[in-house]
């Protein structure tokens, strides 16, 4: 297998990681909504932690994207 084909296949595999990270991001918001609808008075105080959790989950998805971009355009 020549290098260019291997890079493209690797990029496709890295893109699967973004789908998994999407599950993680959805999880963060889903759990926040589940808790917020049970205890609406406490929801606003936890909004900061919601975005911190979202940022952490999104970062890993973006890392998969960076791996893909490096394989396609840099290496």
């Amino acid at each position: 297998m020549d290098a260019q084909a291997a890079k493209m296949i690797g990029a496709g595999l890295a893109a699967i990681g973004m789908g998994l990270a999407a599950l993680g991001v959805g999880n963060v918001f889903a759990q926040f909504l589940a808790g917020a609808l049970r205890n609406p008075g406490a929801a606003d105080s936890q909004q900061g932690r919601l975005f911190i959790g979202f940022a952490a989950a999104e970062l890993l998805g973006l890392l998969a994207f960076v791996t893909m971009i490096i394989l396609v355009f840099v290496a």
Binding site: I52, F54, A55, E58, L59, L63, F65, V66, F73
Partner: protein
């Protein structure tokens, strides 16, 4: 500014940094030319300055502009007080400047300036050089405040209270690594979010153009759905622009809390 050459889509050309006014300006072996990135940073600065100056009135019953500016300042001030506490008041100017600059830079990169012939919009925060420096400034402030206020006791941040003595060496190394990754992750998050959004928009735009070039039947099948998707994605990108600016400021305030209060 062709998005594609001979049918092949090139989404990365929009991120090219080149001199804004013609030729390079080389001084002593270094390229100091005024780039398009610098130009759009000046545009961001002028827009932000105009926004703040226009709204910094002292009316007891605020008009809309003053209300908007005070909304932003109150938002950041409240966030700093919630995350850092009373010791966070001194950092509100820095975090506010950071948040507003990133927000304006992100949004200006999405505005349709390309309609004007000859104007090529550029997202300033779509380069690691810009976001990495912003993250390094935040991290440097965290280190200066942490070591300045606590001295070597700052290292107690890496040993959470209640860890068994045998695990302290391992936990210390793991926490130290996690701490040192912070500026990298902070800059990378903003950079990739902006770059990914713009690549997606450029690919969809190339679909629209390619569809138009292929003929009338393909316009309905390819160009129109792609264009409608572009509108939806642009709305999403505006949301992401605001969220990423907020997340950058929020994480900076959380790291400052670690430095000021040693959790």
């Amino acid at each position: 500014m062709a998005a594609e050459q001979g049918g092949k889509i090139d989404p990365m050309h929009q991120f090219l940094i080149e001199p804004a006014f013609g030729s390079h300006w080389i001084v002593g072996g270094y390229d100091l030319s005024f780039t398009n990135s610098a130009l759009w940073m000046v545009v961001t600065l002028v827009a932000l300055w105009a926004f703040m100056v226009g709204g910094m009135k002292r009316d007891l019953v605020p008009g809309r502009w003053q209300m908007a500016v005070e909304g932003f300042t109150g938002f950041i001030s409240g966030m700093m007080e919630q995350n850092v506490g009373p010791g966070g008041k001194r950092f509100v100017p820095y975090v506010f400047s950071l948040f507003m600059f990133i927000l304006f830079a992100n949004i200006i990169g999405l505005l349709p300036f390309g309609i004007v012939p000859g104007v090529h919009p550029f997202t300033v925060t779509s380069h690691m050089t810009v976001t990495g420096v912003l993250a390094l400034i935040s991290f440097a402030i965290v280190l200066l405040v942490g070591f300045g206020k606590h001295g070597f006791h700052f290292f107690s941040l890496f040993v959470p209270s209640g860890t068994p003595v045998l695990m302290i060496p391992l936990i210390f190394v793991v926490e130290l690594m996690s701490f040192l990754v912070r500026p990298f992750s902070l800059g990378l998050r903003l950079f990739v979010a902006m770059t990914a959004g713009h690549i997606l928009l450029k690919v969809l735009a190339a679909f629209v153009i390619n569809g138009i070039n292929m003929g009338p039947g393909y316009i309905a099948i390819v160009s129109l759905p792609s264009f409608i998707l572009m509108i939806g994605i642009t709305l999403l990108e505006l949301l992401v622009a605001a969220i990423q600016a907020y997340v950058f400021a929020l994480l900076t305030s959380v790291y400052l809390n670690d430095a000021v209060n040693l959790h």
